[in-house]
């Protein structure tokens, strides 16, 4: 509800801007904010998947090495996951309401804005600091921004509301920047943990290399049955190289996605600031950098079964499914 309240404030203020001479720009900004907020939702959902799989990988490690997957660590991972889910919920609320705004006409704007403001007024005071890094400056800044928006909407001060919304958008960007290293660290531990377990299974002959030969045999309806030890050794060495390469690729891809997400949020912050200051906002498409973020996030959505049934394109199958992956 708190997240929805913040999102409601953003959209309400956009709506008020829509009533003035920069209405077209405001509507465009809302559409772009919808796409950017959805991208942010997907980013956090992917991180949630990574944490879920990390939890499972630690259980696998216990079986492989007898290393206890202790309750403390399990709770710590669950706690991190809970925090990431809060951020995903915030981004989702913003996405939904931005989308609603973009579809509405100016005539209903005031009513909706008033309703959102009334709802927000009740909830903003209950906004509690989240633990972790959403504290001190960021927490205070976002609260101040939300309060400014609520007051401005109630007083029908469009410019004031717009400035509050710009402040809130900047706050969301700064918050993301502050937590970026943690997001990357979560991804790095996932890559190292999964890669090391995969390599260990390979080195101990606990994988079936038959999949490597499917590309040669499938066209002829033949099924691989690998019995030659030399052939198995050769494939296992190749697979180890692929696992290592994939480990590095996972880290690099997340690094790029995180940088692009930050860039997208910065661009939206700048654009909304233009609208708030009644300056022309000429760009009519969402930040281009969100495409790369969506691509990265989609790998983890399919891996977690959050989308359609797995078609074999998820990252979990990329590493060892085909020799062609060596070049990736």
């Amino acid at each position: 509800m708190k997240n929805r309240a913040i999102a409601a404030a953003v959209i309400s203020s956009l709506f008020l801007i829509a009533g003035c001479k920069t209405g077209d720009d405001a509507k465009a900004a809302a559409t772009q904010l919808t796409a950017t907020a959805k991208c942010l939702t997907d980013y956090y959902t992917a991180l949630d998947t990574i944490l879920t799989e990390s939890d499972q990988l630690n259980a696998v490690e216990q079986v492989m090495y007898g290393i206890p997957y202790d309750a403390v660590t399990k709770a710590q991972i669950a706690d991190s996951r809970s925090e990431i889910k809060k951020r995903a919920a915030l981004a989702k609320g913003l996405t939904d309401l931005a989308a609603s705004f973009a579809k509405l006409t100016g005539s209903s704007a005031t009513t909706d804005a008033s309703a959102s403001a009334a709802s927000l007024a009740k909830e903003v005071n209950t906004l509690q600091p989240m633990k972790g890094k959403l504290s001190s400056d960021e927490q205070t800044g976002m609260k101040v921004a939300v309060g400014l928006i609520v007051t401005a909407i109630q007083e029908h001060k469009e410019r004031k509301a717009a400035h509050g919304m710009a402040q809130l958008t900047k706050g969301l960007h700064d918050f993301f920047v502050k937590e970026e290293p943690d997001y990357q660290s979560i991804g790095d531990q996932y890559a190292v943990l999964s890669g090391s377990l995969a390599n260990s299974l390979l080195q101990n002959g606990q994988t079936d290399p038959a999949g490597f030969f499917k590309v040669a045999l499938d066209p002829y309806g033949l099924t691989p049955q690998i019995t030659d030890p030399k052939l198995r050794d050769g494939i296992e060495k190749l697979a180890e190289q692929q696992v290592t390469a994939k480990q590095d690729a996972l880290k690099t891809a997340q690094n790029k996605a995180t940088a692009d997400m930050e860039k997208s949020l910065q661009q939206m912050s700048d654009r909304i600031d233009l609208v708030a200051n009644e300056k022309p906002m000429e760009l009519r498409i969402a930040p281009l950098s969100i495409a790369n973020v969506e691509k990265w996030a989609s790998e983890f959505q399919s891996a977690a079964g959050l989308n359609a049934p797995d078609t074999g394109s998820s990252k979990s199958k990329d590493a060892t499914s085909s020799p062609s992956n060596q070049d990736q």
């Binding site: 090495y65 710590q76 972790g132 660290s185 531990q189 190292v192």
Partner: protein, 109 residues
């Protein structure tokens, strides 16, 4: 202080890929138990600080981070030189102990 988390991550992820080899190199169950216990502690130290904050200007945090950086440098070598497992265990113990002190400095709400 992001460097603090980076160093806690380094301790844990330096041990992770070598854990199987290290356990196999242990001549006794006691050594295996020690490595297992230290590894679990390193993992806990790391996860206890993910999505948390340190006081950037706390001299204790700065000092412990510096100490852990040094310990991690030794650890990186020790986990690949398994002919003397006692030395490896010493390096692990040093890094994990400093890491525990650093993790204790994280801000809790």
């Amino acid at each position: 202080m992001q460097e603090a988390l980076a160093q806690l991550e380094s301790t844990y992820l330096t041990m992770q890929p070598q854990i199987g080899l290290m356990l196999n190199a242990c001549p006794s169950q006691g050594d295996r138990d020690t490595i297992t216990t230290k590894f679990v502690a390193a993992r806990q130290n790391y996860w206890s600080c993910v999505n948390k904050a340190f006081h950037d200007d706390d001299p204790q945090v700065i000092s412990l981070t510096t100490d852990l950086t040094t310990a991690n440098t030794a650890l990186k070598t020790a986990v690949t030189q398994l002919d003397d497992i006692k030395k490896t265990i010493d390096a692990i113990t040093q890094a994990v102990t400093v890491g525990a002190s650093l993790a204790a400095e994280v801000i809790t709400v």
